[in-house]
């Protein structure tokens, strides 16, 4: 096993991934240390984790790549579980130090997912799209940015949402977070399956649907005071018709 880890590490170092990670991570870290606002620092910190976690995802996926019999199993079954777990892992820190604003958990979760997806997009661009000679080589990246990036961000946000609503309920945390991890993994896997079939349009729509669903779920309920019609003034003006009569 140790030798396999070394082999995968060498494969990682020989790939474009370290260059991409460092190119994004170092400037973001400069910014991170400059910012004094705690909430902004946290969001950027989680974004950095998302960028960095690609290392671990590559290593773990490569480890299982050699052992699976069917090639599609890696992208359909293994990678979703591994990647969703890695992206959401640092969210557990919120259990130790809860934020003042609960919604910060959601933003941090989404930042982690988007950080991860940026790296993944760059990797796919260099390994596949950049070989195209035509001037539309950026098009796949654009599509991927609007779909896969959103999917990664929203999947981690789903887990963050679970943490947000169970922050004060210790006894619900484990089942909720585990369940949401499974939910995120199946959405991820469904996307990976559909994108390679004739039903690819469904895969492209899924992240957008999830995004709007997330907006609806996280919307604050309308305050009760706004639902009650304004009470009439204490001394209503006399009706014109009645006064005239």
């Amino acid at each position: 096993m140790v030798s396999e880890v070394w082999v995968n590490l060498i494969k990682l170092l020989q790939s474009h991934i370290p260059g991409f990670v460092l190119a994004v991570l170092i400037p973001v870290l400069f910014l991170l240390f400059m910012i004094k606002d705690e909430n902004a620092r946290r969001v950027l910190g989680y974004f950095s984790w998302g960028v960095f976690s690609v290392f671990f995802a590559f290593m773990i996926n490569s480890y299982f790549q050699d052992s699976v019999i069917q090639a599609s199993r890696l992208s359909q079954d293994i990678a979703p579980i591994v990647e969703e777990t890695l992206k959401a892992l640092p969210l557990l820190l919120f259990l130790i130090r809860p934020p003042e604003r609960r919604s910060l958990i959601l933003y941090c979760a989404m930042a982690s997912g988007i950080g991860f997806s940026i790296q993944e997009t760059l990797y796919y661009f260099v390994s596949q799209a950049s070989n195209r000679p035509d001037w539309l080589r950026w098009l796949p990246v654009l599509v991927r940015t609007m779909t896969t990036c959103l999917m990664h961000g929203m999947n981690t946000a789903v887990i963050g949402f679970g943490l947000m609503i169970t922050l004060e309920h210790k006894q619900l945390r484990i089942p909720m977070l585990s369940g949401l991890l499974a939910l995120a993994a199946v959405i991820h896997s469904l996307y990976n399956v559909l994108i390679n079939t004739r039903l690819a349009i469904l895969a492209l729509l899924m992240p957008a649907i999830l995004y709007f669903l997330g907006l609806l779920l996280t919307a604050e309920p309308e305050p009760a005071s706004q639902l009650i019609p304004e009470s009439p003034p204490a001394n209503p003006a006399p009706d014109q018709s009645s006064s005239s009569s």
Partner: protein
């Protein structure tokens, strides 16, 4: 008293949305005709039809409950139940997509993981409905949490390594935990109906797993859509049960006007208001078994 019938409380039925009523009627008809047809004729077409009905019903139920949850703004029991239904519906949809696209179903996949882990949401829903906070219940919840964590790890391991025994063990753990949680809810007035449905589902799932008798598996499979709809019905009805409960014990009401105490008995905080409750669901018993070859 137009809605009062002696010997049967049909208030839940009268309060239900018409799409839910439609689903109840449709799935009831299917439960009978589907079971008879599948027992009488061994047909691949029938099996496929059953799978489609199963997956479509699960998705419809998930969409209905989730849309209601969004409408009410509930952040507690109803949401947990709706998430469980969504997780289960997606798991079934995943299997259907694999089937339609002709991809191999001979390995444990993420759909199985999802079908397994939807029980975690139902556990959370059941736990959140407990109104008492005794030492025994606290210990019970700790053990259930430990079981849930173990089951999640086991099922993830099972999918990654395609290990059927690990998946079976995880399933058994979750069924046991679910049965315990459902039984502990039976004495709770106004919530025991949900507890009963959950108990039925967990029991049927466990039975289906260990009773290798094809007719029973076929009957349970045909009845599964009906069970899902029943689960949604009791879940949505807990909205009213929660309101009634709040009147009984004086716990605070939530944003949607429904109320119940929190799982830890505090009932405080923005997310502590629990409206109603959840539904649980049997993961596709026959299908999961078939998927594992």
């Amino acid at each position: 008293m137009p809605h009062h019938y002696e010997g049967a409380d049909l208030s839940m039925w009268h309060r239900a949305f018409w799409p839910v009523k439609l689903l109840v009627v449709g799935s009831s008809i299917w439960a009978v005709t589907g079971a008879v047809l599948m027992l009488a004729f061994q047909s691949t077409t029938l099996d496929n039809l059953a799978n489609y009905i199963f997956a479509i019903t699960a998705m419809l139920v998930a969409i209905l409950t989730m849309s209601r949850t969004i409408q009410t703004g509930n952040r507690s029991t109803q949401l947990y139940g709706a998430l469980g239904l969504a997780c289960l519906g997606l798991g079934n949809l995943y299997q259907l997509v694999l089937h339609l696209t002709g991809l191999a179903l001979f390995y444990l996949n993420v759909g199985h993981f999802s079908q397994m882990c939807c029980y975690l949401f139902f556990l959370a829903a059941l736990t959140s409905l407990q109104r008492q906070s005794t030492t025994l219940l606290r210990w019970q919840n700790r053990i259930l949490n430990l079981t849930a964590a173990m089951a999640t790890l086991l099922s993830a391991y099972a999918v990654i390594t395609n290990n059927e025994n690990a998946m079976r063990l995880a399933s058994t753990l979750l069924d046991t935990a679910g049965l315990i949680a459902a039984i502990s809810l039976l004495h709770e007035q106004s919530r025991n109906r949900y507890g009963l449905v959950m108990l039925l589902l967990f029991a049927l799932d466990a039975t289906n797993k260990y009773l290798v008798w094809q007719p029973s598996q076929v009957v349970i499979f045909a009845a599964s859509p009906l069970l899902y709809v029943l689960m949604a019905l009791t879940l949505l009805d807990l909205e009213h049960a929660g309101t009634a409960a709040s009147g009984d014990d004086g716990s605070g009401s939530g944003p949607s006007g429904t109320a119940a105490s929190g799982n830890d008995g505090s009932g405080s905080g923005p997310s502590a208001s629990s409206g109603f409750n959840p539904g649980s669901m049997a993961r596709c018993p026959l299908k999961a078994g078939a998927g594992r070859g």
